[in-house]
Symmetry: C2
């Protein structure tokens, strides 16, 4: 039986994407070759790559606005490094809202001065700092739009004239923002976009070329842009599956339609977390809650064993919280159906009844 | 109809690997989840990763000899950079036998002095230089065991006491060598090991820790070793398919058995290239020829259109030579069956008869 997959990433993808991929692994579009054995220089793969790049920009509303999309390797963690390698000349401002922001800060420090404009570390990142100033003389401002581990999300973007660099790994394509406010957006594919193994990087080209260091080819955004994301062999299968997922998103009505579904899923679960005396949310202020990753704890730890058995028996997967938060985390990415959330809510109510 | 796939990479993989992958994309081992949606922290994926790492060392005869295997992202091109970032303190020696060696040299120059001990660039890399000396005071010696584009292969390794770093992207697992002579071996998966999207790195641990620069986390071999190749989200599917391919290799009898098959395939094709007056080999000396990539040209260019039509009609894919060599390149990686080579030889003979 198909599980209800609340895994934080790699995570559930649309069923039609699994089905198309499974077929393409045996024979891609009837050409007598697996999608895994076609050359990245073949017309078939060039088409896949161009489709994926175009769809990404289309969904974000960034076509013909000076932006380009790349599908790179290395995960979002490689972008912590590449962002600063390519953009950090003297100093940069970072907002520290969780484990991933902290790691981004760490890598940036190798390349220049890092000003941490604010941090919620004092409260185990259970809120989003709001009152901070971005110095006008920094090379860029870096933030994490959604904190996968702690379950918080930035609802509004700070006003600033410096380029905004954003790690959107865990909420890209899930809600509408004015994406043209960003200089650089990056996201590991393995949440809302595809399988692990590729990373979307969306760059406003005019923010490049301003650092004086020499950049190794593989870390240089310009090198990848000049080669249309084919400087070296791309992760063919991961890009193909990402393309399929972006096509699915288009069929579903794009980000706006998806945002409504995501709100419905999040509304259903958070309402239950609040209502049910057995559970409490981890995030301090409701306004900071992430619709993607809902973090919550039991109010009575003695129920843990029973509750764990119950959700596993209901076919739920991936609900355990990250060790730095404990409790539970329900990741409700784009491909997770509302029905899966309903199954979880039913289990929570059953747990209350039988407690 | 399944093609005879002579593609230089990404390339043919064993049919059983395509079939198992196709199933696992729908449901991994009956657990109700696609292999693309399981967490990299799940027991299922940890087992896949550990299997793949162990099989790689086993095949190379490097277990319990101070070596560890990693499956990273970024391709072999990222290793050009990581090798020098981690190992180059003052100077390094490079043997330049082709496009890939030249690119490795270029990246290394960002980190220290590079001594090119020899180069066959003067003859469009159609031979392997043999008389050169490796200075005893370099940090390491770098070579490319098989030159994918030009179709040459290093048959013997030079004697040296410095660590030997080798790009084995296009002939790893295809022939026996004393792998314990190497300090660092790397290979993009997309030839003999799996799909594109992961890179095998085999490191003798005691060669690390000797440079004074600070290394960004994602580029630091020690960081990846400490985290058992799971510092960040690995390319789950690419590692899984690599594991399946390494299992297949084991079933087939390992490298020694594969080497015999590869010799038979190469023997069949090179004999025909030499015998058939319509064709001539590109590599100057027969002793330098690669069993993996056979490069050859027509002796009479006017036959080109006809020959191209003939091999395409015979169901052959990926035979065009790289633009820097022209003509043809038949890549005969581990998974290519002898029958495919026979089909090519038959077409070559038919072309001769009808010329
Ligand atoms: C917000 C965020 N940033 C960065 C990362 C790291 O991504 P990767 O493992 O692809 O390097 C993650 C992983 O979950 C994440 O959620
Ligand atoms: C010998 C060799 N080294 C390096 C590379 C570059 O590999 P990647 O595209 O994975 O960076 C290739 C690619 O074909 C190769 O054949
Ligand atoms: Mg976080
Ligand atoms: Mg409650
Ligand atoms: Mg070459
Ligand atoms: Mg001949």
């Amino acid at each position: 039986m198909k599980k209800h997959n609340f895994s934080p990433g790699p995570c559930i993808l649309p069923q039609q994407v699994f089905e198309k991929t499974s077929k393409a692994v045996l024979d891609y579009n009837g050409i007598g070759l697996s999608v895994m054995e076609i050359s990245h220089r073949s017309k078939e793969f060039i088409e896949i790559m161009e489709n994926a790049r175009t769809l990404a920009l289309e969904h974000l509303g960034l076509e013909n606005k000076g932006y380009k999309a790349l599908f790179l390797q290395g995960g979002a963690s490689m972008q912590f490094l590449m962002a600063s390698y390519n953009l950090l000349e003297k100093k940069a401002a970072y907002l520290n809202t969780g484990t991933w922001s902290s790691k981004a800060v760490k890598e940036a420090k190798l390349f220049g001065e890092v000003i941490e404009v604010a941090s919620s570390k004092d409260a185990n990142f259970n809120y989003i700092p709001k009152d901070y100033t971005i110095p006008p003389d920094v090379d860029y401002f870096h933030c994490t739009s959604n904190n996968t581990i702690f379950g918080t999300q930035l609802k509004t973007l700070p006003q600033t004239d410096v380029p905004v660099v954003c790690d959107m790994s865990s909420d890209i394509f899930s809600r509408n923002l004015d994406f043209s406010k960003f200089g650089l957006i990056y996201a590991g594919a393995q949440k809302n976009m595809g399988p692990s193994g590729t990373t979307l990087v969306v760059i406003k080209e005019d923010i490049l070329g301003k650092v004086s260091r020499s950049i190794p080819s593989m870390l240089d955004y310009k090198v990848h842009l000049d080669k249309d994301s084919m400087f070296n062999t791309p992760p063919v299968l991961a890009v193909y599956v990402s393309m399929l997922t972006l096509e699915w998103l288009k069929e579903k009505g794009g980000i706006s339609a998806m945002e409504k579904i995501n709100e419905a899923k999040a509304g259903l679960l958070y309402t239950e977390i609040d209502r049910n005396p057995l559970f409490k949310g981890f995030v301090a202020q409701k306004g900071d809650r992430s619709p993607m990753n809902a973090t919550f704890n039991l109010t009575d730890e003695s129920v843990k064993e029973k509750f764990d058995t119950m959700w596993k028996e209901a076919g739920i997967n991936g609900l355990n919280g990250h060790r730095s938060v404990g409790g539970y985390r329900a990741s409700m990415y784009n491909a997770l159906p509302l029905e899966s959330v309903q199954v979880l809510v039913d289990v929570m109510q059953e747990a209350e009844r039988t407690a």
